[in-house]
Amino acid sequence: MDNLPSAPTARIGADIGGTFTDVALVDGNGRLAIHKVVSTPPDFGRAVAEVVERLQRDGAVGPETEVIHGTTVATNAILERRGARTALLTTDGFRDVLELRRARAPELYDARYVPPPPLVDRRWRIGLRERIGPEGQVLVPIDEAEVRRVIAFLAAEGVESIAVCLLHSFRNPSHERLIGRILEETAAYTSLSVDLLPVIGEYERTSTTVVNAYIGPVVSRYVLDLAADLRRIAGIGRLQVMQSSGGLMSAARAARQPAQIVESGPAGGVIAGVRLGEVSAARDLICLDMGGTTAKASVIEGGVPTLTSEYEVGSGISLSSQMSKGRGYALKVPVLDIAEVGAGGGSIVTADPLGTILVGPHSAGAVPGPVCYAAGGTHATVTDANVVLGFVNPEAIAGGSRAIHPDLAHRAIRDDVASPLGLSVEAAAHGVFGVATATMARAVKAVTTYRGRDPRDFVLLAFGGNGPIFAAALAESLGMRHVRIPAAAGVFSALGLLEAEEAWHLSQSVFAVSAALDPDDLVRHYRVLERRLLDELAEGETRAVEITWGADVRYAGQGYDLTIPVDRTGAPGDLVARLRETFHATHARAYGHAAESDEIELVNVRVTGRLPRSGAISRATAASGQGASSRSIWLGPRLGRHVAPVLDRADLRMPVMGPVLIEEPDTTTVVPPGWSARLDEQNTIVMEHVA
């Protein structure tokens, strides 16, 4: 690893979206600059390289610069089925575990449900004669000669990547390790389940390992190419990639464990929310990131973002994924618990002839975009409705670079929604707004209500190009009274990349009831993981790694566990007692009851290591100087029509009452009647429902 900077140097956060690539640069003096460029599919890294090249010519970056990257390359490889020719080595008799999944279709009454095809053809799923038992005992020894024969066959078939997942390997990794050593002699990309996910549950472990293998060659090529470009362009040697968990990992490690960066893209916004919460003392936040295609909701509770390890990749829009499995590929690694719904500014709206309005999941994207762009879009979209309602500037958006045609928006809403339903155009647009809000409310509920949390205990932090338009209405629909719109809301995710810390998660299955746990053994488990983590995380790092412990615990007999924090500084002797106490309380909070006389079971121990950031906070500023104006807006039958002043963010240094519109190049904030708005020290718009 390269020499570490002793003083702050320039850092770049590069967030690549389907439409735009946002690059945020903090220079050595802490100044923030934002660059928004059009993305360059399919070679998404090119946009980043081009911006860095420009910055290098301007003398803004150099070899000391660190680049932090959020990318959807891994997700896209799966969605577009562009992964490697992949094989799976598993235990004889179980090669179909991958295909048979957990049974269960994701929806009731779907006679014609067909799950997505497995990422590995059956021909390349090969059962080896070997067997480990449930206590880790070797029931049938592995046959090295057979392994070599199978690998030779796969090489002859042109297989590029090999996943290895044997039954009960999390209890005894020796057989997988032997295969790993043999594979090291080959050119194949190798993924061992014991490296990725040494926990019980053969389907989820196999699927995770296969996903890693499938995207491995594509992702490793992408990040290593980008790293090489950065080195060539500006001598930059430090490329970090955002993980699905919200922590960073080195490009080299991302190349080995791409399963960890599948949800790299949306994680930046959540981390930005965490940091903003820290500096503005908002500990309980619901983040709403609404862009052009989707809206994503996530929860920060007590300053900590929520992680889930029940996730499916490639399932399109995910909602309540806990119940509704079967549309994608199970990936059981820590992922920020983000619920995504198909409601963005570009989402196409239609009228069901029986009287309902439908929003999404299809999107007009940026090209052709909403009808009001006059760029070829022919289907009414959410943004068209927002133009009709007066929420979007009727002349131009994006700092004047994108002309808006309100007449086209009006016509589109009339033809696609109002006429079929026998509604006025205004009522139809308001209906679209309401349905989009309701759809987002479902995403919010998926991460709150479904998890036993009440959204009214949270502050809504809304960002992305469209989040600030809907924030107040969404909050009202959920009974929430507090809303914040961060500065640079349209590129908030890129800021989050600059705020992220390097983090690494390791876990180990224990699977023992608390009565059978020896505190010393338990501490030993944690210490072993700590050592492994430091070895992997540090890679020559000298900065102090912050270690935290966690545990996945349940009542003996339950099938799902709750992850609870474990205080590693407490007395080792009462570790088990503390586990029990914390678990009862956590269970009661999550589900409304605790069974304190019941035995608890420790499923996994978890260790997380972090390399903390040196406190770079958002440097985003509030724009001013547009000049005062006003606009007529329609807020539905209850609130009616209002003439709303159109203000700059900077104007909110004096508190105002809605109705008000706050217009910025990348978004508009709607402050409805009954809401107050003011600016805080971070230039965040603070809105309160006072009526």
Partner: protein, 587 residues
């Protein structure tokens, strides 16, 4: 207050603001989903927490289902019967904090004893607005055999503890005596009580979620919105049914036997489509049988509703509104409407077969919406004995996942019968929990029903049994009556159960109990999915792909599909054309 259950099609969904209607539809669905999630996450038994054999719903004050969580289709249609009986019996005396428990299919709307309902009336301003309801399949409720799903019981008294609808909580106070009586009557009280706690947590969450909506929309407003949703579901269903060709469509499905008396059990349906209504008449179905496969009427109706729903638009709101377009007639004292005290512990198989008969009949009207026959519903394997440490256990495995092919797609492997959308039991969890060691869980070569689109191959589960000597109860089917193909597709392969005792392999009944001894190797192969369309019309490359994936042998490729594979591993186009011409002379 809305909903006397017979509101009919007069209300119009458009008397409500469409956006609000959509919002409330999502909101009610969220409440039921949240209930479901809480059960999955807190239940104790593998049947509930891993196989997910439970359901959740919200019913209006009139007992109509207005929202349902992702659960088991065969359960959901039974909620109105159970809640209806509670209302009839306790209506005027209901009070806040009451929670009811029941499982009795005779007179209480239950569907068999292992399925225990927990029902909580939701109060606001002194009156009942709605009910939060859950039903979960409990691992054991006592009776003749561990797992309480015997096929050989001949009256319900042998099947376990019967719970009429009684208050488990009265005005918020727990009636501990009921739990104590249950605990004393079941083989694994820890699991049963743990699952009941999960159900109780779910109805509490349902109540909380529902009252949040009442605060937003008002009690009357919400009731009106629910009525609009019911009307919308009804209207969408009727509109679609009206587009189906009128006629009387008949279908017979068979259950091999009831495991007590020989001979098949006949399920006959006449499905009459007339305008925008469907009438399903089960006249001609066998009289009730001695074995435990009698399907109580609520379960039969549930099966008919679920089967009909399978051919309707999936975007219809998940409410009972569409039930209004469907009439069910079942002859008294028949296997689909038994008289007290007929045994019904294993009635699931009859529910599956009622669904298959109804969808088979509907396939004549709307052939593109119905796939060919599949495995016939999950195979239930239960063993109760002691494990290696001498501790008693009840092992239940719900083994499922061979669907038939449909027009345009092969039958998917690993996907359960739509009547019972349960999950599988992971091998690593099974081996860590029960005295079993698996040899195989996978697909069987050359088993898929052939067709232009082929069925799913048969699934096999094969394990060494390590517990003490005991009995294994199997509830399967389709040994004598294999899955039927559609549109010229071939049938699926028959199911099979074998036990290897000390090297001697014997076939065991696919329905009923038989001994299992320490060290025996138990193997069950599901019936496979049947095919859709003429196998000779299957794309030769698809056949080749199946051969390369070891799903069919080159020999079967030639025999069933007329596809000849060259020694170099490609399709011999010339030979294939010639072979297919020989098999199917010009018509």
């Amino acid at each position: 207050m809305s909903g006397d259950g017979g509101a009919g099609a007069h209300g119009t969904p458009l008397d409500q603001d469409p956006a609000t209607l959509e919002i409330v539809r999502h909101a009610l669905g969220s409440v039921a989903d949240e209930m479901a999630l809480i059960i999955a996450r807190t239940a104790y038994s593998a049947t509930v927490r891993d196989a997910l054999d439970y359901s959740t719903g919200i019913l209006n004050a009139g007992g109509e289902l207005v929202a349902q969580g992702l659960g088991i289709a065969l359960h959901l249609g039974s909620f109105p019967s159970a809640v209806g009986r509670i209302v009839e019996t306790y209506g005027p005396t209901l009070q806040p904090g009451d929670v009811f428990i029941l499982n009795d299919p005779y007179g209480w709307g239950g569907i068999h004893l292992p399925d225990i309902y927990i029902i909580k009336p939701i109060f606001h301003g002194g009156s009942v607005l709605a009910f939060a309801a859950t039903v979960a399949h409990h691992t054991d409720v006592g009776g003749l055999i561990p797992g309480s799903n015997s096929t050989t019981t001949t009256e319900i008294f042998q099947e376990g503890i019967r719970l009429p609808g009684v208050r488990l909580y009265e005005g918020g106070r727990l009636n501990q005596a009921i739990l104590d009586i249950i605990a004393a009557n079941v083989r694994v009280p820890h699991k049963v009580l743990g699952d009941l706690r999960a159900q109780l947590a779910a109805v509490d969450a349902g109540e909380r979620g529902y009252l949040d909506l009442v605060r937003r929309y008002g009690a009357d407003g919400l009731a009106a919105l629910e009525e609009a949703l019911l009307n919308l579901a009804e209207r969408m269903a009727r509109r679609e049914i009206a587009s189906f060709p009128d006629g009387v469509y008949r279908q017979v499905a068979w259950i091999d036997n009831d495991s007590v008396d020989p001979g098949p059990v006949r399920i006959e349906v006449a499905v009459t489509i007339a305008g925008d209504t469907i009438k399903v008449d089960l006249a001609g179905t066998s009289p009730q049988v001695r074995g435990g496969i009698n399907s109580p009427l609520p379960f039969t109706k549930s099966a008919v509703y679920a089967a009909t729903r399978l051919v309707l638009d999936r975007s219809i709101p998940n409410s009972a509104g569409y039930f209004r377009a469907i009439e069910v007639v079942a002859p008294a004292a028949s296997v689909v409407n038994p008289d007290f005290p007929a045994a019904c512990g294993a009635r699931g198989i009859t529910g599956f077969r009622v669904m298959d008969a109804v969808t088979g009949a509907l396939a004549q009207a709307v052939p593109d919406r119905v796939p060919a026959d599949g495995e016939g519903g999950n195979t239930l394997v239960s063993i109760g004995a002691n494990d290696q440490a001498g501790q008693p256990f009840v092992f239940i495995e719900m083994f499922c996942g061979s669907r038939g092919a449909g027009q345009g797609y092969d039958g998917p492997a690993g996907v359960p019968h739509p009547g019972s959308n349960n999950a599988n039991l992971p091998i690593e969890i099974a081996e860590s929990t029960y005295p079993v060691s698996y040899r195989e869980y996978g697909l069987v070569q050359d088993s898929a029903g052939p067709g232009q689109w082929r069925g799913a191959p048969a699934l096999v589960r094969d394990f060494d049994y390590l517990g003490s000597d005991g009995q294994v109860q199997v509830r399967s089917d389709k040994r004598d009556h294999p899955p039927f193909g559609l549109a010229g597709g071939g049938p699926g392969r028959r199911s099979m159960t074998t036990v290897d005792h000390a090297g001697e392999i014997t076939e065991r009944p696919v329905m009923g109990p038989s001994p299992i001894l320490t060290g025996d190797r138990f193997r069950h192969e599901l019936a496979s999915g049947a095919g859709w369309g003429n196998p000779l019309a299957r794309d030769p490359e698809a056949v080749l792909r199946d051969v390369r994936n070891d799903l069919i042998s080159a020999a079967r490729a030639a025999l069933d599909y007329g596809v000849v594979i060259s020694p170099d591993g490609t399709v011999d186009a010339e030979e294939t054309t010639a072979s297919r011409a020989r098999s199917a002379p010009a018509e």
